[in-house]
Symmetry: C3
Subunit: 364 residues, 3 copies
């Protein structure tokens, strides 16, 4: 673990700053956060789930963070909160404030004279800021980033190294954008003509709201005519693909390797699992959870959990089932036939088997 930042805070000051209940000595010095297993007497740990209670009994942590139900599960000095994991996140942020970054433009950066760069911002080595681009207050543009002409980056935003923002795109305030992210590349728009593809100019923008985090190598295309929009508070993991004219609603979280095809509209506070794929031109309402590896082909109008993936099986078992699947329609017809023959045999005309008609080609 990297421990370059030596910040020491007392348990009392943590409780006060974060509005948590303190049980134990106010002046206990805390240097770092750590897991229950690895924490030492200078560390504060946390109980994220009841299943880790046995670890709580054995931990060498100096203090722990707990939810209300677990407040008496230990005699250790502790902070109690209704949202213990969120409290842990805040404690960690206080103990790991990051290096102070010097404002200013590195001499190797190339900033167009017509760019508007806040004096309090930091432009890293070899970064390139295009004509008419705007960089907000206290924003950091990392080494090797390229900000296109007319693009606007808000205040207090951090672009890590080697991020690319295309012309005219917008990134809000307090965002964190990781390396290799590409914002505003052309959407995949083509018209077919005589077996060849004519490029449809992508003249919209990509607009990223406030408080958005974007993981490494994620790509967010600009819109064809209107804009691609990533709402406030959205959290995107690594290697996500967001096509042109997609809308991601506020506070939705998306795990790595997921993809959104063109013009899909995702609601607020959704959770999209890793490697999930959302087809284009559909709508997912607020509060939907899509499981990892699941493909969504139709609009979803009801909140809830949606699945569509097969977990691994041992090879032989999988191959057997797969072979059966590949003849599943035959199998269903054989069942239908059996039902008919049995009905004839026992003289009951189709009684008890109204599902015989079920086998149509719908897929819902």
């Amino acid at each position: 673990m990297a421990r370059r930042h030596e910040t020491i805070l007392t348990l009392g000051s943590l409780a006060e700053q974060l509005g948590a209940e303190l049980i134990g000595p106010r002046d206990l010095a805390i240097r770092q956060v750590a897991t229950l297993e690895e924490a030492g007497p200078d560390d504060i740990s946390f109980l994220a789930s009841r299943q880790y209670r046995p670890l709580l009994a054995r931990t060498r942590a100096g203090a722990v963070i707990l939810g209300g139900v677990d407040r008496d599960a230990t005699q250790l000095p502790r902070l109690v909160s209704r949202h213990p994991y969120a409290l842990f996140a805040r404690v960690s942020a206080l103990l790991n404030p990051g290096d102070a970054i010097q404002p200013g433009v590195h001499p190797s950066a190339v900033v167009d004279p017509a760019a508007r760069v806040a004096d309090s911002s930091t432009i890293g080595p070899n970064a390139v800021i295009g004509k008419d681009a705007e960089i907000g207050e206290r924003t950091v543009v990392g080494p090797g980033c390229v900000i296109g002409c007319g693009a606007a980056i808000g205040d207090d935003t951090l672009l890590h190294a080697n991020v690319t923002v295309y012309h005219d795109c917008v990134v809000g305030d307090r965002c964190i954008v990781h390396s290799g992210v590409v914002i505003g590349g052309d959407g995949f728009g083509m018209a077919e003509e005589h077996g060849r593809w004519i490029k449809v100019p992508q003249i919209g923008r990509a607009i990223i709201g406030d408080d958005v985090e974007i993981g490494a190598n994620t790509t967010i295309d600009r819109g064809t005519l209107g804009d691609t929009i990533v709402g406030n508070g959205v959290k995107l993991d690594n290697q996500i693909q967001i096509a042109h004219n997609v809308l991601i609603g506020e506070h939705t979280a998306v795990a790595a390797c997921a993809g959104f095809a063109g013009s899909s509209r995702i609601g607020s506070r959704c959770r999209i699992g890793g490697a999930a794929m959302i087809h284009g031109h559909l709508e997912i309402c607020d509060g939907v959870t899509v499981a990892a590896g699941t493909m969504v082909r139709r609009s979803i109008a009801e909140p809830g959990v949606y699945d569509g993936f097969f977990p691994a099986l041992p090879h032989r078992k999988w191959m057997r089932n797969l072979a059966r699947f590949n003849h599943l329609d035959d199998l269903a017809q054989r069942v239908q036939e059996l039902e008919a023959r049995l009905a004839a045999l026992d003289g009951q005309a189709a009684s008890g088997s109204p599902e015989v008609s079920v086998g149509g080609l719908d897929d819902s």
Copy 2:
């Protein structure tokens, strides 16, 4: 929408330049393309599909682009074409010509003295051009791009910021390559020896044809011995992976997040859906459509549409079906048994159930 380019054209000049039929006033001024819903009197819109006819009735657009069958579906000024979406693409390109780019090498770029860079080309800030590399006429190498030794980029090609082209690779004329693309990285070639992996040098190249577009963060590996080839007119979306010695035939289009394993050979004018995965050492003939999220494990010799993905279901329903799938072989055997027992019962020896033998372990 970004409207930095103020180009105004008359409907008549559009019709003339693009060979479209004009119905309406020649001198109507058109400033921009827009959707039927968002267009205003200065805009030209288009009817892409009959399902949008109701929007056509309500649009405030100054003019519209239509197919022949819809020519009388409105009284608005209009351009009529057999390929209305392609016409729209061309109109948009005329109205959005892009900024004029100054030729020349930016002082911060690092160009090897032995590179051959056309005077009409543009080398952006902090770009790096290696020894013996060639950059063609009017080609733009964006900020932060790295062109390896001996690589060749054709004429009128646009490399957006932060593209990497490895040594000796070739990119054709009139290509568009988006940020984060890596062309010519080593293929994944290793030989096993005593439980360790020995690297197989990747001494082939990646060759990209003319008129190819490559989306952000797509990777195209160089060949092991021969070359990896992306044919003329191929269109690749974002985050596609093309392994060593793959061949992508001309005018094939590939949606985002698809992958091609080593030595796969894809025909011309194929359409590969998003997140589709093509196994290695197989061949797909011309004119094949592979649906999104589909895995191709064997060669395909017949044009047509191939599928292989499961759309999401509500969690409970999916889990029920999944549980059944995991016992599908059992289920099939039970059906077989039922058939046998029923045959015995009604005295018919296996009549009507020749499919009993179907349940082998093939998976075709």
Copy 3:
């Protein structure tokens, strides 16, 4: 094929240097490796698999590399080895040594005065080396790479262009890291509080062992508290996603587009297929092969092959089976009912159908 490196070796010196058995003239000059089909009299080729024996009969290669069982399958000059493909890899490496690279820091690179950069290393144009970073002996940092503060790169490692290594991360000796790779970005850690996401600081590191190769645009996140670890000898293809606190065991190979969710622990000498997805917080033992496109949701404690993907079918056939799958639970219930009715009919109470109880909602 790129043939800029003109290295000529005799068959005898190859045999000697690599400890292979030589059958044929010691002084035969070999310039390059090539496939059986493409090899000429200056080339050495190899027989990787018996299925290519017909090509062996027709090859124009000057010499070939064979396994012991094939030693008499040709009269051509030949090198014989127990691991012919590994021998081929080594021969190719000798014939294609790569350009000699001049040590030194390019004047356009930005190296922090507090970085420790070995004199024998090469820092490419526009690379950025942060404060307290270390670059080992003979290591090459390609153009446009950004090495964060306190990061350490070992000896004899090659970072191709535009690689990003975040602060405090570690890359071992003799690694090859391809363009666009991001090592040490923040893991996707967030705590929910009142419907919003609070960032959990990611204070661990990413640690890459020795002899690791990492393909283009792969991302490896740093740990939340402890470290993310990629073991010695691991080989990673392109566009792989490795989340925070993952452990990849030694000499495991992972094909392109695979993903590992947080805190998954993968054994040694595993083989993970392309686009495979490994869920978080699970363990895979040594020696497991996960097929391409397979999702692993539970720990695997037995070595072997695990599958979970459906190969493409022609559209109609797939849609029929898919429709049946979507009613698979119904179908299973109908079979159960048939069994019961048949049992009643022929007077046997459930004899022969103990699997009736199998249809629970487990999915193992």
